[in-house]
Symmetry: none
């Protein structure tokens, strides 16, 4: 359990809490680590979840099969990411998606009741975790709305402009780095990579933007 503390320290959930403070919290929060083989389901649609979870190792896909059996991947969970928290915290929320291990995985579970109910004074950093969770979910909410703002644009060019403008304003510079490669950016904006790449180059030729790998400049 101890070996995962450096990973946990970097997560938003434990932001502002040092490594030696995390250790006693693990038992307070009834932490439990489980392993999954590639192809196994970590969570399934319809499940009732009572754990806050953080992915320690591997990669997960949050996906859904619709009425006619078509599958859609909703989200990719990377190492250190929290997932399923909205289902664990909400009162009686059944999972609407499946969570599949696409690699061998290691997941840490925290009892949600222990997390959101502040325990007696012994665990003084607990209230900070509660607050972290509160702000994290609010921020996640706003990020989702922003993502919807980009996706709602009709053309690939408009989606790109929407996203790049926001990134520029967030980083307070017309030159900035994006956290995606081309494929990931396309997946984020829900467009085809090659079509997007094509559009980016057109925009560059028209003198709207400059870019080099992950560095972009709005002109």
């Amino acid at each position: 359990m101890k070996k995962y503390i450096p990973i946990l320290k970097e997560t938003q959930l434990f932001s502002g809490i040092s490594e030696n403070e995390i250790e006693p919290m693990l038992s307070c929060l009834q932490a439990e680590v489980r392993s999954y083989k590639k192809g196994e389901y970590v969570l399934s649609q319809g499940d009732s979840l009572s754990y806050i979870t953080v992915l320690l190792e591997g990669c997960l896909h949050v996906q859904k099969d619709d009425y006619w059996g078509n599958r859609s991947i909703v989200n990719v969970v990377g190492e250190g990411d929290m997932f399923g928290e909205a289902y664990a915290i909400a009162d009686d929320a059944r999972l609407l998606n499946d969570v599949l291990a696409v690699e061998d995985c290691r997941v840490i579970f925290f009892d949600v009741k222990r997390v959101i109910t502040v325990c007696s004074s012994a665990c003084r950093f607990h209230s900070m975790v509660v607050q972290n969770l509160f702000f994290a979910i609010s921020e996640k909410n706003r990020r989702l709305v922003q993502k919807i703002g980009h996706m709602s644009k009709r053309t690939t060019r408009e989606k790109l402009i929407s996203y790049l403008s926001e990134e520029a304003s967030k980083q307070q510079s017309s030159t900035f780095l994006i956290p995606f490669n081309r494929q990931q950016l396309a997946d984020f904006l829900c467009v085809d990579r090659s079509a997007m790449s094509n559009e980016l180059c057109k925009m560059r030729n028209e003198g709207l933007i400059k870019f080099e790998r992950k560095q972009f400049t709005l002109l």
Copy 2:
């Protein structure tokens, strides 16, 4: 103010709190009720919000109009639903969307600082409101993720299938009512109305669905 207590009692924010316990909380939370006519804006993009709000009566759309006049409906707020909370909780978050009354509405405002800061006095149900707020924000996140799931689909048909499947499963019936007219549904899924209407009729001709105004049936 008193007459709204029976409505508030049924809301997520005051879940588990009885009517006679709500009354003293209203002053503690500095509640204020305002009315809006159909077509009026309750909140506007760029606003800084310091109130948790609950819709007592009517229906609201959380939406955004872009430079070219394209409208994107992010969320539908029904009676008893809370809105804008993610912006109120964060310290310096400006609203990304407008909130429009699509019917005559009545909204109650609570000072967010009073809500999330548990008071010292004998307001013992206050901490339960805080917990309810957690639940509500989590649920909101889930709804946003669902919407992204629909929008992430490449074709209008897939978007429709995704949305209608979910609505069917949410209402636990293959026949159900949607809360949108055609234009609003198009705005919600971020596609052109006529193209969507066309696609719906094709799907009906292919025997996939039946519909009549706002009532749909999956076959």
